[in-house]
């Protein structure tokens, strides 16, 4: 029983009525117990719909999904006992006071009175909300709202926590605070699935990452492995003033150790300046030769930079376009 995965998704498809394309189009992945798993992708990639199926608020068109071995379609009530959700939008119960939001949530989940009151006080303390416990929530800032929604999610001791864009629209300080809390929760054994379009966030928090685009999973692996997908890891980006892009590309390909040269189109706002990207085992040593090669064909180097292998770069490598 302990080796049933926390989340299992198999060939999941969701097509909304009145929509031609599938919002989720055959996605499959598994999240092990105790893992922090990131679902990445641009807006509209199908992340929120995938979460919707897992938290039983969206019915799949086909395919299967289960939480802790319980099928989300066949037994949604049992699934709800295992999960907790921190949504993108503030959905706190504005009629209740801060502490009541926690105690009532626990009561909905059948937690006894004494237990829920102790736990509420403990969580308010941990998340720095203890002195606001009798406040009403409309006056809360984004960071406090987010912390309160996390506290609420933990009130019934879930096994799997869903965080949908947890730090979107938060100030840097609140982000760091939340990242620390998320790590802490994971260390206590909670399985976490988070969606984000922030590559840096995913890189810092997630053990494994799946990149989603147009309803499909493009890759699914650890951040380190994903970064190695870029040949040689690093890449060299050049902005070149030229009218003969093909000559430049050919010249760059002649350089020693180069595995791939991409011409990424013209630089915004600069007429006649084009972006080239060189992938090689050792791009660092190619900085000089690359510049010379460009000058050698009568073109002009406007800018030259070595790109670290960030997940953002991986995304561009995979999809050929920027994330946002």
């Amino acid at each position: 029983m302990t080796d049933t995965p926390a989340i299992q998704v198999e060939r999941l498809v969701k097509q909304y009525p009145k929509s031609k394309a599938n919002a989720v189009d055959g996605a499959s992945f598994t999240v092990r117990r105790g893992e922090v798993f990131g679902l990445l992708g641009p807006n509209g990639a199908g992340k929120t719909t995938t979460i919707g199926v897992l938290i039983t608020s969206v019915l799949p068109t086909s395919g299967k999904a289960s939480i802790m071995g319980v099928d989300v379609v066949q037994d949604p009530i049992e699934v709800k006992r295992h999960i907790a959700v921190v949504p993108q939008m503030n959905n706190l119960d504005r009629s209740l006071r801060v502490r009541e939001i926690l105690t009532f949530h626990a009561a909905y989940h059948g937690v006894g009175r004494k237990e829920r009151e102790t736990l509420a006080d403990k969580l308010l303390q941990e998340l720095g909300l203890a002195d606001r416990k009798n406040d009403k929530v409309p006056r809360f800032s984004g960071g406090m709202t987010q912390r309160l929604m996390i506290a609420r999610a933990l009130m019934h001791s879930p096994d799997v926590l869903f965080l949908d864009e947890p730090t979107n629209n938060l100030d840097p300080q609140s982000r760091l605070f939340l990242w620390d809390r998320i790590r802490e929760l994971n260390q206590r054994g909670l399985t976490i699935l988070l969606t984000t379009h922030d590559m840096d966030e995913a890189d810092r928090l997630c053990e494994r990452i799946a990149v989603m685009d147009n309803g499909k999973l493009l890759v699914n692996d650890t951040p380190a492995v994903l970064k190695k997908m870029i040949p040689g890891g690093h890449s060299l980006e050049l902005h070149v003033g030229t009218t003969q892009q093909e000559t430049v590309t050919a010249a760059l390909r002649q350089l020693p150790g180069v595995t791939k040269v991409d011409e990424l189109g013209s630089v915004a706002d600069q007429i006649g300046v084009h972006t080239f990207r060189i992938y090689a085992e050792e791009v660092g040593s190619l900085v000089g030769p690359a510049a010379q090669a460009v000058l050698g064909v009568g073109a002009e180097v406007r800018d030259l930079s070595v790109k670290r292998p960030t997940l953002e770069e991986v995304f561009i490598y995979l999809t050929g376009r920027q994330l946002r």
């Binding site: 909304y16 919707g52 938290i55 039983t56 608020s57 969206v58 019915l59 009530i77 049992e78 709800k80 006992r81 999960i83 907790a84 959700v85 949504p87 939008m89 959905n91 706190l92 119960d93 504005r94 009629s95 209740l96 009541e100 939001i101 009532f104 949530h105 009561a107 909905y108 989940h109 059948g110 609420r152």
Partner: protein, 259 residues
Amino acid sequence: MKAFLAILRRDIVITKREIVPFLLQSLMQPLFFLFIFGKVLPGMGLAAGNFVAIMLPGIVALTTLLAAMQGVSLPLVLDLGYAREIDDRLLAPLPVAFVAYEKVLFAALRGMIAGSVIFPLAAWILGDRFSVRTDHIPLLIGMIVLTAFTGAGIGLVMGTSIKPEQISLMFTLVFTPLLFTGCTYYPWGQLDHIRWFQVVTLFNPLTYAAEGLRYSMVPPINGHQLKTLGIEWVLFALIASIFGTCLIGARTFRRRVIS
């Protein structure tokens, strides 16, 4: 079951905090009606003294039904529209339809309270004109309960099918006809001179609520018992309406919260 009770307790806690606005909202209109029709007009000789005895059950019916209806429709329209405060309850381990049924039960309780408060209020305003027969008390209580659930059921259907931007239009389109075709201010039996209208009123659940309450409340006037719709028809129509609206309402509710 635990979840259901906890959700009910949440609504009760919140209403307790807003008891004064709640009572004001539901009692303002009946209060003025009682005053104008029970005190002012008879004093001018413009309404027969026993008119108020016939009208009082109508006021009880309307107040109960409206309080129950508003108790569920308005919060649901807002919640399903954009507030989404209901999400936390939808994630509780119980079938989502039960979240809708809890709203119905709770709104019905509000309706029953609003309707019951009319009695002491009427006794106070009307003084010795206040007369309610006492030999049908259990039926009277049952009628108030049924009326409240009827209102809550209609509220559930409205609350799950209206979009926030249509609120004011829908309320006009529903309230006004409901109010004036519901035999609130006139007994159904005396409509026989406008036959078509008498038939129209039969499609309004409020008619049955008002007539059933008239049956259980109006004492014999000059030795004559007021003729009302048959009580067995009243009970049948109200129970059918409650089941019908709850079934339809729970279905639209499910469709709104699970896509």
